[in-house]
């Protein structure tokens, strides 16, 4: 029984890490723009599809495929998300609500674009993070090599972001721009450049998350249209929206709650628990688990 509980915990944490990775991107965008991007999860889907195209279909080496895929999604962040959506709305003093609706529509557009270009059939992702058939075994508990990669990436990301925002001039300039664009501009910060950077950063990091998610989700439209985006958002809200570490903890909480609800209640309630947690936090602790980083 103990082994079952351990296995369930580890699998729950592995899933939770994935939710957390998506949540980190939500936090990052909120921190740097003060907005919620509802097309956020599309960046993960595009990252996975671009990587699959370069690496599997065109046989580019993994590193080149990875860099190209992430760069292309970052470019999409600057050109489409910022250039077409954000600038148009902000140019005529549009509000946050308009941005939310516009990005929701952008998400649907990108989902359909992917279906048209790549088809709706899921593709198997190459085993670049270790064979899923030979997990690391501690006793009778199996741990996926892939989960260790995700753990390493998320820890590095959280530490890196913490350092970037607190210790570097560019990071501080980004935060200043998010807080007050006019004052930041008066301080000599290139607001346009900073906004472009924040769009590229959040979409690029989410693209990496998409590549990390693909071995589990396959290269499929589920990445962009499935429930993972909502769970990532819930992780960020539970964690406090302004703290990437909080998003990670929020994700772990959801992953564990889901798996234990299947184990002790019923598999039919797996997704319900995410929304129960989200509603609970929105009512009882809207500021989230952690304070602003």
């Amino acid at each position: 029984m103990l082994q079952m509980v351990l296995q369930n915990s580890i699998s729950g944490m592995a899933m939770g890490l994935l939710y957390g990775v998506i949540g980190i991107g939500v936090c990052l965008f909120w921190q740097t723009t003060g907005l919620i991007n509802f097309a956020h999860i599309s960046s993960a889907m595009l990252g996975a599809y671009f990587f699959y195209t370069f690496n599997v279909m065109w046989n580019f080496p993994i590193i080149i495929a990875f860099v190209l895929a992430v760069s292309l999604v970052a470019l999409y962040g600057i050109v489409v998300l910022r250039g077409v959506v954000y600038k148009q709305i902000m140019g005529r003093k549009g509000g946050r609500l308009e941005f939310i609706v516009a990005t929701m529509m952008l998400n649907i557009f990108l989902l359909n674009l992917v279906i048209v270009v790549w088809g709706g059939v899921p593709y198997p992702f190459p085993s670049i993070f270790g064979s899923p058939m030979n997990p690391l075994r501690i006793g009778r508990v199996a741990i996926q090599h892939h989960s260790l990669w995700v753990l390493a990436f998320t820890v590095a990301l959280v530490i890196g972001l913490n350092y970037f925002f607190k210790r570097t001039l560019t990071g501080k300039a980004l935060r200043a721009t998010a807080q007050n664009k006019d004052t930041a501009s008066l301080m000599g910060i290139g607001v346009g450049k900073m906004t472009a950077l924040s769009f590229a950063l959040s979409t690029g990091i989410t693209a990496i998350a998409g590549i990390l998610l693909a071995p589990i989700y396959f290269v499929s439209v589920e990445l962009g249209g499935g429930i993972i985006g909502i769970k990532g958002f819930a992780s960020a809200v539970i964690g406090g929206l302004t703290n990437p570490f909080g998003a990670l903890v929020g994700g772990l909480l959801i992953g564990l709650a889901e798996n234990f609800s299947v184990f002790y209640i019923s598999s039919s309630y797996r997704d319900v628990i995410t929304f129960v947690l989200l509603v609970f936090f929105l009512i009882a602790r809207p500021q989230g688990l952690f304070k602003k980083m």
Binding site: M4, Q7, N8, S11, G12, A14, M15, I115, V116, G119, G120, V121, P122, P124, S131, P132, M133, P135, R140, A142, Q144, I216, Y217, F218, S220, V221, E222, G226, I227, E258, N259, F260, S261, V262, F263, S266, S267, S268, R270, D271
Partner: protein, 374 residues
């Protein structure tokens, strides 16, 4: 001069009708409604390719009773809302003689009444028991494959009679296709005096089944019945292998197609599945079809293509027997027998299924090995 103007509309009408009847005499229109985008897009390609192979063969041999077959194809995106639009269009605007598809059970449930209202034959490959004539009461709806009732009962029988399972576990999805199969398999196990020890759900899009698997282990299952769609089947078997859960697994039709085995080729080894078709079938009729298909498309055919290939030939046979009158065709289809296709002899049963053919096969990594034929 004025009297000419008076008869002009009448002349135009007569000429139009004549032109229409001349054109009608040259072709017979088939509509194909299948998913070419969306989650079921791979099925649409297999269906269209197999159907066009039959159509082109028939047209090359002079058509049906001298008429060439014209095919109008629509994409229903595997979505009932889209299916309603395209089925209405293909029946009411294009005025086809026979509609093939939709292929998704939920789409057929949404649209079959359109075929009944317009008295147009609808030949579907969807397999949910909900679509049987006993449930829909639609005299114009026919099914080209065995329904899931038949196949899932075979699945349960195989688990009990061949594998000797006494404590089966069930993993099922949430669509009508999966939940209907779950109800059928539980009822069939009950007929054997067996109650499944774990009945677990996996939502479409779920990528973790640890909790469900642990519940099955805790319940001491001695076999697992897979009743999910293809992607979830791949996730489930992969995690099953990772966690070292070592019991036989028997899946229903979604577990017997490349859309599943391509996603988890290693983990799927040893999976037993109920199938409607496999290109490994040594039946000479099937092998001839496989060779023609491969020569034309450069890949192997897959379920449910064979059902639509058979369907086109069944309609040809019907017309050759009773002519082009749709009521006579429907009547003939209702009592149809005597035509041998890829699925053996097609015989319409009381549920309007033209076939009860199914296979039990085991995936061996590079293909399927047939264990039983029903």
């Amino acid at each position: 001069m004025r009297k000419y103007f008076k008869v002009l509309p009448l002349m135009v009408l007569v000429v139009t009708l004549l032109a229409g009847s001349v054109a009608g005499a040259q072709t017979i229109k088939f509509g194909l409604v299948a998913p070419f985008t969306g989650s079921g897009s791979i099925l649409g390609d297999y269906i269209r390719e197999a159907m066009m192979l039959a159509v082109d063969e028939i047209n090359a041999a002079g058509g049906i009773e001298g008429r060439q077959i014209e095919v109008i194809v629509y994409d229903d995106e595997a979505a009932p809302a889209t299916a309603i639009n395209v089925v209405k269009r293909v029946i009411e605007n294009d005025k086809v003689d026979v509609v093939f598809g939709p292929n998704m059970s939920s789409s057929v449930l949404a649209v079959h009444q359109v075929a009944a209202d317009n008295e147009t034959l609808m030949m579907v490959g969807a397999t949910s028991p909900s679509l049987g004539y006993d449930r829909t009461g639609n005299p114009w709806l026919f099914r080209l494959r065995a329904d899931d009732q038949v196949r899932v009962e075979n699945q349960a029988d195989y688990a009990v009679e061949v594998l000797g399972s006494k404590k089966p576990g069930i993993i099922y999805g949430t669509t009508d296709y999966c939940t209907s199969a779950r109800d059928v398999i539980i009822a069939r196990f009950a007929e054997h005096g067996i109650e499944p020890v774990a009945v677990e759900q996996m939502r479409e899009g779920d990528v973790d089944a640890t909790g469900q698997l642990l519940n099955m282990v805790r319940a001491g299952v001695d076999s697992i019945m897979g009743l999910t769609h293809e992607s979830e089947a791949a996730v489930f078997v992969r995690q099953m292998r990772q966690m070292g859960v070592d019991v036989p697994i028997v899946g229903f039709t979604a577990w017997g197609v490349p859309a599943f085995t391509d996603l988890a080729p290693e983990a799927a080894k040893g999976v037993i599945a109920v199938q409607s078709f496999t290109p490994e079938d040594t039946n000479p009729v099937v092998q001839e079809f496989v060779q023609k298909y491969q020569a034309r498309y450069g890949r192997l055919p897959s379920d449910p293509g064979q059902a639509y290939y058979d369907g086109v030939y069944a309609i040809k046979e019907v017309i050759e027997r009773v002519g082009f009158d749709k009521h006579a065709m429907r009547q003939e289809l209702e009592n149809f027998s005597g035509y041998v296709g890829l699925q053996g002899e097609l015989v319409t049963d009381e549920k309007h299924n033209l076939s009860r053919f199914s296979l039990i096969s085991e995936f061996q990594g590079d293909g399927w090995k047939i264990i039983e034929k029903y």
